[in-house]
């Protein structure tokens, strides 16, 4: 699929596909609208009965509360850290046809998952195995509704008498469901047959009775059958308790009243979203992201692209510009739509607090099948929970930010900063002190980092927009349960990575070793060769995240002589090159590994950062004075900003961007100018930046800007990577699009060196 490069091509949207094309078998499942339901199944499709305002609110909050309580119960009952701490789980309440009423405050890219699976069940199971009171269906099929196979949904139809009234559902990330790799993130899977088995919806509980044969099969696929057993029991208990609450609510207020509130909640969400879309001009916005290596040993770089089109009162999403599916770096429609919807609701309607179903009505997807982000069967997707889905959360939140930046002041306030483009965790496993197998997905990636926003900095270790309630482990939580010793967990410094007018939140680095255990393995490690954390509007990208492993170090000797090492590079030993996609490797006592969770991208040009904000970071000892001058052009002497020296340094930096020409000062835009992004405006149908004319809006302003291009590892010393990664890193470039008058950055982009600049804003 080639990238549309001309305005006309971009504006011409892909056609919607005929019914049945998206079958859930050869391709992803995308339900018909309205969904297909066999006639034999009785549904409560009533509009409901009138309720007074107080009762309406009581019912609405009760629905929301039962969904919260469902989440809270799962957190209490599950035994896998990835589920209970990371909140890699989701609960929802849905209408009789699977439209979302409430989504819980857990993993937000599960947004579309339950709805897809339920519609599939209605369409394919009602006439075959039947849907009856007391049934529960289990499914982890990415070609139906699961983002990847470990994310297994349990879906419960709630009946009133013989009529299907609504659904309650949960998804848990199960710690291991098999596949080539412990933890089931199978980076080396060439297709779905090396991954955990994908289960299309299967009846696990029939008429209230657990089907032991099915449950046994489910356990059988796991390396951790005990944990899987406990977690599945939690899932069943969660759905049962929520179903009971739902029936109690209906018993108390009446089926009609509760149904009316469900429908009203959907309608209310829809109208709020439509209202917010009004302040944004029609147009198309695009964002690209990258993967390095489709499989271990592969040295290619792959492109993902999302295009967001706003047409009146709706949004249309497509994936043109994305490379064809390959290796294990794919996702299906479930993860693609889940990630994009999560970014849209988190940015534009977080005040709906999970009542997002109405918003989804106004977002249409027209993906092209067979591409990396809408793979056809049997494309492998299992590692996507750490990689490709996070790439799409990052792409989506950036593309939504671009769209919002063209709206009015209220729309700009909705912009969220760029998030972290991967889940840079590790998964380790082995045999524990008691001789039992263990697998530990390091949930500390939950610390995350929030990107810079138009009006303020990001938040250090501030989590992720897509898991509102996630928390990280204590070191003691990890060491109590797993045979590991955490040597350090330290915030990164403020540096060039994430530098912007508002800087991105800081990430962290954590070093660990195995401790008093037998054999252990690092089953998942992600080592960046280049940063993937692009940030719109002139900021530097977030950090590059190398993974450093050293074998046979002197760590034990150092500990024995009274020293706790501060970083892995202080230690002796043999470096293991850990590239973007590596097969699991063994670690022994004395081996040490370090993973880095990057700082997020910022917002705006670092040379426009408030000098006092720079000083404040120096005061906090997060930033040193030489770095302040190098990155921000802010000269600090004896604790205060030297205003004159700072002005000189900043002018010099801008002049350098202009090839030595003297930069002009910023000027106010003419009346009637419409703002686009940070420094760019549209004046009389032409791009305008600080008095510079950057061409007609039918063209890309990037063509008329001053363009500077560096290899991705040369943006600043912070972006340098180990030598073994140079070849890969040097095929990516960082481009600055600079205002020809002032020398300030309008925007920046990361691109494969062979790609022309992306025309990322097209206004109608």
């Amino acid at each position: 699929m080639s990238t549309p490069t001309h305005t006309d091509e971009i504006l011409e949207l892909p056609q919607a596909r005929e019914q049945g094309f998206w079958d859930g078998v050869a391709r992803s499942y995308i339900p018909a609208q309205p969904p297909v339901v066999p006639e034999g199944l009785a549904l409560d499709t009533s509009k409901g009965t009138d309720v007074d305002p107080v009762t309406h609110e009581v019912i609405r909050y009760a629905l929301m509360a039962m969904n919260f309580e469902h989440s809270a119960l799962l957190q209490r009952l599950c035994v896998s850290p990835i589920t209970m701490l990371t909140r890699d789980l989701q609960t929802s309440v849905l209408t009789e046809v699977g439209d979302l009423v409430f989504l819980g405050p857990n993993l937000q890219y599960f947004s579309n998952s339950h709805s897809l699976s339920i519609k599939y069940i209605l369409e394919r199971r009602a006439d075959t195995v039947g849907i009856a009171p007391g049934d529960m269906f289990v499914s982890n099929d990415p070609y139906v509704g699961a983002p990847h196979q470990p994310d297994t949904a349990l879906l419960t139809p709630v009946f009133l008498d013989d009529e299907l009234y609504c659904w309650v559902a949960n998804t848990l990330h199960y710690s291991d469901l098999g596949g080539s790799t412990p933890g089931s993130f199978c980076l080396d899977a060439i297709d779905a047959f090396q991954e955990p088995l994908s289960w299309p919806p299967v009846k696990l509980i029939e008429g209230g009775r657990l089907r032991e044969d099915v449950f046994e099969l489910f356990r059988r696929q796991s390396r951790l059958p005990g944990a899987v057993e406990m977690d599945m029991r939690a899932a069943i208990a969660g759905n049962e308790a929520t179903q009971t609450k739902m029936l109690g609510l209906v018993g108390r207020y009446g089926a009609g009243a509760v149904k009316r509130v469900m429908r009203g909640t959907l309608d209310g969400g829809e109208s709020l979203f439509v209202e917010r879309l009004q302040s944004i001009p029609d147009g198309t916005w695009s964002q690209r992201g990258y993967a390095e290596s489709a499989l271990p040993g592969d040295d290619a770089i792959y492109t993902y692209q999302i295009n967001l089109t706003k047409q009146g009162d709706r949004l249309i999403v497509d994936n043109r510009g994305t490379d064809p599916q390959n290796g294990s770096i794919n996702i299906t429609y479930a993860a693609l739509s889940g990630a994009v919807l999560a970014a849209i609701t988190a940015s534009m309607t977080p005040d709906l607090a999970g009542a997002y179903g109405g918003v989804y009505r106004r977002v249409e997807f027209r993906p092209e099948p067979g591409l990396l982000n809408c793979a056809e069967y049997p494309g492998a997707v299992s590692p996507s929970g750490a990689t490709t889905t996070e790439v799409h959360l990052h792409l989506a939140v950036c593309v939504v930010a671009k769209m919002l930046s063209c709206g009015d002041a209220a729309a700009r306030e909705l912009i969220l900063g760029p998030c972290i483009p991967h889940w840079y965790c590790t998964i380790c496993g082995g045999v524990d002190r008691a001789g039992n197998p263990w697998i530990f997905p390091n949930t500390n990636g939950m610390m995350g980092a929030i990107g810079g926003m138009p009006e303020r900095d990001g938040v250090d270790a501030g989590g992720h927009f897509w898991i509102p309630e996630g928390v990280a482990n204590n070191c003691e939580d990890v060491e109590a349960q797993f045979p590991l010793l955490i040597l350090y967990r330290t915030l990164l410094n403020v540096g060039a990575d994430g530098a912007g007018r508002h800087r991105g939140g800081l990430g962290f680095v954590e070093g660990a070793m195995s401790w008093r255990a037998g054999a252990a393995q690092v089953a998942l490690a992600l080592g960046d060769s280049f940063t993937k954390g692009a940030a719109p509007f002139g900021s530097n990208p977030g950090s590059v995240a190398p993974f450093i492993a050293r074998h046979r170090t002197d760590v034990l000797e150092r500990l024995a002589t009274g020293e706790v090492p501060a970083r892995v590079h202080e230690l002796s030993g043999q470096v293991r090159p850990v590239e973007a996609k590596v097969a699991p490797f063994d670690v022994q006592e004395g081996d040490v590994w370090e993973f880095l969770y990057p700082s997020a991208g910022g917002f705006g040009d670092p040379l426009r950062r408030d000098t006092e904000a720079v000083r404040a970071d120096v005061d906090l000892r997060l930033l040193d004075e030489p770095t302040a001058e190098r990155v921000y052009g802010v000269v600090i002497r004896n604790g205060s900003v030297d205003a004159q020296a700072t002005a000189r340094a900043r002018l010099e930096a801008r002049s350098q961007r202009l090839g030595g020409a003297e930069p002009a000062e910023e000027v106010a835009p003419p009346p009637g100018a419409e703002r686009v992004g940070e420094l760019l405006f549209v004046v009389d149908g032409r791009w305008w930046c600080n008095g510079a004319d950057l061409g007609a809006v039918s063209q890309s302003y990037k063509d008329a800007a001053v363009v500077r291009e560096f290899p991705a590892r040369k943006i600043a010393p912070e972006f340098e990577v180990p030598e073994y990664a140079h070849a890969m890193a040097d095929r990516m470039v960082f481009r600055e699009f600079v205002c020809p008058r002032t020398g300030f950055r309008i925007d920046t982009e990361l691109a494969r060196a062979d790609q022309p600049p992306l025309q990322d804003i097209v206004l109608r």
Binding site: V54, Y61, A62, A65, M66, Q75, R76, L77, V79, S80, P81, M84, L85, P105, L210, A227, E229, R233, I236, A237, E240, A346, P350, L352, E413, L414, L416, M446, M447, G448, I450, V459, D460, A461, G462, G463, F465, P468, G470, V471, A472, N474, C475, E476, D477, A480, Q481, L485, R489, T490, L491, F508, W515, L559, G562, E563, V564, L620, R621, L622
Partner: protein, 696 residues
């Protein structure tokens, strides 16, 4: 021993120091309640308390204060001092010593975000300890308590000297990894610190909160040191004042968890006093609920600076575990009270969009509302109440204090009415309505938003400012009945006398029930129980007045949350403990949720020691009715903001309204230190406990 000793004592005294008012309630052995109220004297709390005590002794009891204090059996204090320190982050400059590699634990804060779908609202946590005053010490202990890297005396001393001498630390906190498994390194630092800096307040995490999870333990330890000096000064000052005036019994303080603790002990663990005052009210409401056989209560407490509400469901006060204070996760368990900045002193202002807002900033007691005439110029909720005519300027606190209606009107005019372009009365009504909406939202958050239907609850309202608003709040939430206790304005102070002494001990043991020997667990429980016993005996409780309960925090291996259940230390047979946990677990979470092939852990041993105190008796009165007309003291022109109408309202005096009296709204009932607004179509009655009942 302060409570059970026979003698000639006849009084129980509860003193609640809030942000604005200091309240005193003296309960006599016949159940009579005497009360007084005065402004809180920040910086000199002791003097303020003595002033109010004198007021109650001389005016209510007709005796000099030394006589009252000499005849006092128990003296319990709820204090705002720790709450304020944590809320405003004003406390000692703490120097913190941590394990190498964990310097950033406080800033990382396990991801410092609020549980909100909205990322736009996320901001960094404030620094509890300056980053420069956190120092790493080269040491390490592992999960089993084994020393990996020993701590040398030289390194410990260098770290201490660095934070004190180079960073100017005023108090010290130490939190090392796994210190609850092996406290030797923290104790080494502790011994050195006590040696080198004997006067400096010191908290060791292995003493303050010897529990698994270093972030929560670190925050708890740091906050303890943060408040240490302030609490010590406060307790010592108050003890001096009270002893000097004849109090013979040691005084106690209310803890966040809803029990008293002797003041001397509170000094070592000051953080346990957070929320101390408001807890008294909730304990009082629980006790009141028992008299009325009410087991579902929403408490609503509006004082000078904040509005606090809590839920009592099925007779039980809800506790919040691993509670968040300010924005910090701690290891504390406390009575679950939710607070917003809405009180009589909350300041009304106009925001950037030209919309009137109320709070959360408060005028406090200094300068106080504009109408106090103490220099306050910004309009407050109290000013609005005075301007609307609800409060008689000459009968504020039963005439003990004069308020100036002119000043109230001027402040409203200048800061709200003129900027928005409204009349003064419209602006005052807007302030009243906004604060009612804010408080209704807080009640909604603890009830509806947690799945409770407020219609099934009774509101017990108290705090000096609440009774003008409670009917309107109740109506917003469809709560049918509001109880206004006779001593509403000092109710939290009265509630303090209803609490038992409570000592809590917790220690992590990490017992894998079926795999490890229970010997260590048995020893830990025995040790903690003995400690509880001897501590309570030292507090003066005879063995027959002491109850010890042993509980364990159990979970399946790997779970993030524990189930706390009773433990019988005599029967620690592993299989029986395992089975009993599975039974409890399934009783809570449902049949088949447990799987008996999975390891069960006992994470923490918890021991609670209760020293049972003598409670003031309750007085029941005969219902004689009383003619409300006799109680009618006149009428007053009031603008009723709820119906947007000005009218002459009948004003009644509570002194003539005996038990059984009834009247209907609209009306004003003036109680000595509070004013009740009975809105249109509401019914008011006085019951046999002399409490006021509003049917709204």
């Amino acid at each position: 021993m302060d409570d059970l000793q026979p003698g000639n004592g006849h009084f129980h005294i509860g003193v609640d120091i809030g942000g604005t008012f200091t309240d005193v309630v003296v309960s006599s052995s016949t159940g009579e309640l005497h009360r007084a109220k005065g402004l809180t004297t920040h910086g000199e709390y002791g003097r303020g308390i003595v002033d109010v005590l004198e007021l109650v002794a001389e005016r209510e009891l007709n005796m000099p204060l030394p006589d009252l204090l000499a005849r006092t059996d128990s003296f319990v204090n709820g204090t705002t001092i720790v709450t304020n320190a944590v809320a405003e982050l004003r406390g000692s400059r703490v120097g913190l010593l941590v394990t190498k590699g964990t310097h950033d634990t406080l800033r990382i804060a396990r991801a410092p975000r609020t549980n909100d779908y909205d990322m736009h609202t996320q901001v960094p946590l404030p620094d509890l300890v300056g980053r420069e005053a956190i120092v790493e010490v080269e040491e390490r202990v592992d999960y089993s308590g084994r020393v990996v890297v020993p701590l040398t005396r030289e390194r410990a001393e260098a770290a201490l000297r660095y934070v004190v001498e180079e960073q100017g630390a005023e108090a010290l906190a130490v939190c090392l990894l796994w210190s609850f498994q092996n406290p030797a390194h923290e104790q080494l630092i502790g011994d050195l610190a006590r040696d080198i800096y004997p006067d400096m307040f010191l908290s060791l995490s292995c003493e303050v909160y010897p529990v698994h999870r270093e972030y929560e333990r670190m925050v708890t330890t740091v906050l303890n040191s943060f408040c240490g000096d302030a609490v010590a000064d406060y307790v010592d000052g108050l003890a001096r004042e009270l002893r000097g005036r004849g109090l013979e019994v040691p005084f106690s303080l209310m803890q966040s968890i809803g029990g008293r603790i002797p003041a001397a002990q509170a000094k070592a663990r000051p953080i346990s006093l957070v929320n101390s005052g408001p807890v008294g009210g909730v304990i009082g409401a629980q006790s009141l609920g028992q008299n009325y056989a009410l087991d579902r209560i929403i408490t609503a407490d509006m004082g000078g600076t904040s509005f606090d509400c809590a839920l009592i469901d099925r007779g039980k006060v809800g506790l919040a575990h691993r509670a968040q204070l300010n924005r910090f996760l701690t290891g504390l368990s406390l009575v679950d009270i939710s607070a917003i900045g809405a009180g009589g002193g909350s300041i009304a202002w106009v925001d950037d969009r030209g919309m009137p807002r109320v709070g959360p900033r408060s005028a406090g007691s200094i300068p106080g509302p504009a109408c106090y005439g103490r220099g306050g110029t910004e309009p407050t909720v109290t000013d609005a109440s005075v301007a609307l005519g609800f409060i008689d300027p000459d009968y504020f606190l039963a005439g003990a204090m004069h308020v100036d209606r002119e000043l109230a009107q001027q402040a409203i005019a200048r800061h709200v009415a003129e900027p928005v372009g409204w009349s003064d009365m419209e602006a005052a009504a807007a302030i009243w309505t906004i604060v009612v909406q804010n408080m209704s939202g807080a009640v909604r958050a603890v009830s509806i938003e947690k799945g409770h239907d407020p219609r099934e609850f009774t509101m017990v309202q108290y705090g000096g400012a609440c009774a003008l608003f409670s009917a309107a709040i109740a109506r917003n939430l469809s709560i049918g009945r509001v109880i206004i206790p006779a001593n509403a304005s000092t109710f939290s102070a009265g509630g303090l006398s209803h609490a038992d002494n409570r000592r809590t001990y917790v220690r992590t043991v990490n017992w894998n029930v079926l795999r490890d020997s229970p010997a260590h667990v048995r020893d830990t429980f025995t040790e903690l129980a003995e400690e509880a016993h001897s501590d309570l005996e030292a507090d003066g409780f005879p063995p027959q007045a002491i109850d010890i309960t042993l509980e364990g925090d159990f979970k399946f291996l790997g779970q993030a949350f524990e189930v706390t259940k009773p433990v019988d230390v005599e029967a620690l047979e592993p299989q029986a403990v395992y089975d009993s946990f599975v039974d409890t677990y399934e009783a809570i979470y449902g049949e088949d949720t447990a799987w008996e092939g999975f390891d069960v852990m006992l994470l923490n041993c918890r021991v609670t020691g209760i020293g049972r105190t003598e409670k003031p008796p309750l007085r029941r009165l005969s219902v004689g009715g009383g003619d409300p007309e006799r109680a009618r003291k006149g009428e007053r022109e009031v603008y009723m903001p709820d119906v947007r109408r000005q009218a002459m309202l009948a004003v009644y005096s509570d002194e003539q309204l005996g038990p059984g009296a009834r009247l209907s709204g609209p009306a004003i009932v003036e109680v000595r230190d509070t004013t009740i607004y009975v809105p249109v179509d509401a019914a008011f009655a006085v019951d046999e406990y002399a409490n006021y009942i509003l049917e709204v």
